[in-house]
């Protein structure tokens, strides 16, 4: 019996000595250029963090390459960020330039700090999940290729955080991103009655539906879906493999905007629906890439300095946003779930 419940390695074992010495006693930081942070401790000691973009889905050999560089320039220490970038932790100033050169030579981007686009938080998609409405890594690659300049250069009004989740479960937590790409199903699950009778309990499946669209079909020892009430959330599929929700003809991608997480200036905000549907068009999802790019550009063109996407939209009003972004407003944009009412406009204040 192997030991259990010993927990993750203690973080202290993983920290470079300069950090251990100055732990909790950092004084300030500067961004020297995109991807290069300098933190200065009260002691006067300094640490440089070189942020490098990663595809996140990486091979062991990739990690070993990272280790090689970290051994060479960082005394064997490296970290990853909460958005899956790599951070090389450099203490010797003179190591910065050669490290960056080697990184670039590998085709890895340096950037993602300050008013840059950072790495896209994303999910599994067709690589590993059983319920995706779209792929994850493929769209991410296509979008990041197109927006590459915004990662390596700082030329946006503010931070830009794009995320992707391949189904409504939203593992990428796209619900609070400046721009979110979300895989959506658009047709009700098709019930495999035989399978259901075999593997699922009817009350569990019935109870799984948030809109009450599922009712028992005792004859078939299965269930039936009231298609009018189904909003394709896929929760029944999570509960039962017999409720197949993937649909190659109708699955696709929706685009959301204006979310943010930080409490800086404005309270955190949810991302809100911009484009209800774009088709799955692998391998490069041109419609999605184009739509995201347009959104970035319309924001970059119109926002004031320091205004996150959502802050900009809230200032100009969503009606103006739809106009500027040239996106049609449809009945799909109007909430009709539990908390819809507080989103309805209860004032005559609006722009034409």
């Amino acid at each position: 019996m192997p030991r259990t419940d010993f927990g993750p390695p203690h973080y202290m074992e993983m920290l470079p000595p300069v950090i251990k010495r100055n732990y909790g006693r950092w004084k300030y930081h500067e961004i020297l250029r995109p991807g290069v942070l300098k933190h200065v401790a009260e002691s006067g000691e300094e640490i440089y963090s070189i942020r490098v973009g990663s595809p996140r889905l990486v091979s062991t050999d990739f990690i070993r390459e990272v280790c090689d560089l970290a051994d060479k320039y960082c005394d064997g220490y490296v970290r990853f960020t909460s958005r899956h970038n790599i951070e090389f932790l450099v203490t010797k100033k003179e190591n910065i330039e050669p490290l960056i050169q080697e990184v670039k030579a590998k085709g890895w981007p340096v950037g993602g700090t300050g008013n840059c686009l950072s790495n896209m938080v994303h999910t599994q998609g067709w690589i590993h999940c059983h319920t995706p409405a779209t792929d994850a890594s493929g769209i991410v690659k296509a979008v990041m290729d197109e927006l590459y300049e915004y990662f390596v250069e700082e030329k946006l009004p503010a931070k830009l955080r794009i995320s992707l989740a391949c189904c409504l479960n939203m593992c990428g937590a796209v619900h609070c991103s400046d721009i979110a790409i979300l895989g959506v199903h658009r047709t009700p699950p098709r019930v495999d009655h035989e399978l259901l009778a075999k593997v699922s309990e009817i009350p569990t499946v019935v109870a799984s539906c948030p809109t009450g669209a599922i009712r028992p079909n005792p004859k078939l020892k299965s269930v039936e879906v009231n298609e009018e009430r189904c909003m394709y959330c896929g929760n029944c599929f999570t509960m039962s493999p017999a409720m197949q929700i993937m649909d190659p003809e109708n699955d696709g991608v929706s685009i959301w905007v204006g979310g943010k997480v930080s409490n800086a200036r404005t309270a955190p905000m949810f991302s809100r629906l911009a484009i209800p549907y774009l088709p799955n068009n692998p391998p490069r999802w041109p419609e999605v890439v184009e739509a995201v790019k347009k959104l970035v550009e319309v924001w970059a063109t119109h926002a004031r300095k320091g205004e996150r996407m959502g802050e900009w939209i809230e200032r100009i009003g969503w009606e103006t946003f739809f106009k500027l972004a040239d996106i049609p407003f449809t009945d799909k944009h109007i909430d009709d779930f539990i908390f819809s009412v507080p989103t309805f406009r209860t004032t005559t204040q609006f722009r034409w």
Binding site: P2, G53, P55, M170, P248, P282, P283
Partner: protein, 397 residues
């Protein structure tokens, strides 16, 4: 080699951003499963549909979670991904590594798995992507020898995570890494042996910038904050002004509560401390000049989650301020009371936020022994549907 067989995904080798397809191909050189993965993906690209079967429960001895079972629905075509389970490995707090530790991980994974990983999963785990049922136990055994334990999955505590915090950030008001590590150790049973109605996530950010998105992605968010006035170094403020920062426009006018005023003549920044809501903006803009106040602690929020089922929630303030000093007894006690109450009252697949919504905040507060305070709400209720506890009214005949 996968090459000619995967014309669609091959397109994704092009372009400036590093390519996951190249990574899969690299792994495929050693691991046939990676090759089959790519071929199956290419089929998905052709057909616009996934090719994994629904779920499947697999695991390692002594654990109820930490492994996501996955089976191809085309096992004949792609035999090497017939079984292709993911192992979630609990990352060290703050995602710091020695290269030694990383190399060990890679070696083990090359021995037992596909050679593919996510660094990291979006909950924060190290994701070891794809192995067979038979390899799970030996792989775990070696990982365990190397000091790596499993992360969470299923209806239990999920792997907590923390921002870089005091390790490299001057803003951190709490020891995020230690809080995260300490809670992980304390509640490992819940992490490794899921026993609750649904998942429960904890994330720890050192300040209101919330660099681990705890307010959006954790059922329980711990966010550093302070009491007392921001510490201002007026000389350093003046330096920012001299260096060209437009303090009036970029700092003062963006303060959400108008707590700041800029005297351009005297080059003095004035703060109405009682109006500051600690949003971090001014500090973010002038880290050399401004620092959080001296009395440090954390705001605790509950209920954050994604969209299933009652729509996404952002976390709700339940404790405006708690001091956080090891061994974090007050925090752990509170968490335990919360776990207990949720475990007892939650329905299957009901996140804690949804339970609170269903039964009312007042029931939650009473159960876990927290006093109601106005910081818990943006604004008080607008409907008159107030409940009274039986002891608060006179008994009727």
């Amino acid at each position: 080699m996968a090459n000619a067989q995967t014309p669609r995904v091959d397109e994704l080798e092009k372009g400036p951003w590093p390519s996951f397809v190249k990574e899969i191909k690299r792994a495929a050189e050693k691991h046939p499963s990676a090759g089959d993965l790519l071929r199956q993906l290419d089929l998905s690209y052709a057909e616009k549909i996934g090719h994994w079967k629904h779920g499947g429960i697999v695991g390692v001895k002594g654990y109820g979670g930490g492994v996501i079972g996955r089976y191809s629905d085309k096992p004949e075509e792609f035999p090497h991904v017939k079984e292709f389970h993911t192992m979630r490995i609990n990352q060290p707090s703050g995602w710091f590594y020695t290269t030694e530790a990383l190399r060990k991980l890679c070696d083990i994974w090359d021995k037992y798995g596909s050679g593919l990983t996510n660094f990291h999963g979006s909950t924060g785990d190290i994701i070891l992507l794809g192995t067979t049922t038979g390899n799970l136990q030996p792989c775990f055994d070696e990982l365990s020898d190397a000091g790596f334990d499993l992360g969470g999955s299923g209806g239990g505590l999920r792997t907590p995570s923390a921002c870089v915090g005091p390790a490299r950030c001057e803003f951190s008001c709490i020891d995020t890494l230690d809080v995260c590590h300490s809670l992980t150790l304390e509640f490992q049973d819940f992490l490794h042996r899921p026993q609750w109605p649904y998942k429960f996530k904890i994330k720890v950010s050192g300040c209101a910038n919330d660099c681990v998105a705890s307010i959006a992605r954790a059922d329980f968010a711990i966010i550093g904050t302070w009491k007392g006035a921001i510490q201002i170094d007026q000389a350093a403020v003046a330096d920012y002004a001299d260096a060209g920062l437009n303090i009036q426009e970029e700092v003062v006018e963006k303060c959400p509560t108008g707590a700041l005023a800029w005297d351009g003549e005297k080059k003095e920044l004035k703060l109405k401390a009682e109006d500051c809501v600690r949003c971090m903006h001014c500090i973010n803009k002038m880290p050399k000049a401004l620092r959080p106040g001296e009395q440090r602690g954390a705001t605790l929020l509950v209920g954050g989650k994604a969209t299933i089922l009652k729509s996404a929630f952002l976390g709700w303030v339940i404790v405006p301020f708690m001091e956080l000093k090891p061994p974090y007894t007050e925090l752990k006690d509170l968490l335990r009371r919360i776990f207990d109450w949720w475990d007892e009252n939650g329905k299957n697949r009901e996140r804690i936020g949804e339970l609170i919504y269903r039964v009312g905040m007042r029931t939650f507060l009473k159960a876990v022994g927290l006093p109601p305070v106005p910081q818990m709400v943006f604004r008080p209720r607008a409907n008159p549907y107030v409940f009274w506890w039986p002891e608060e009214v006179k008994r009727n005949a």
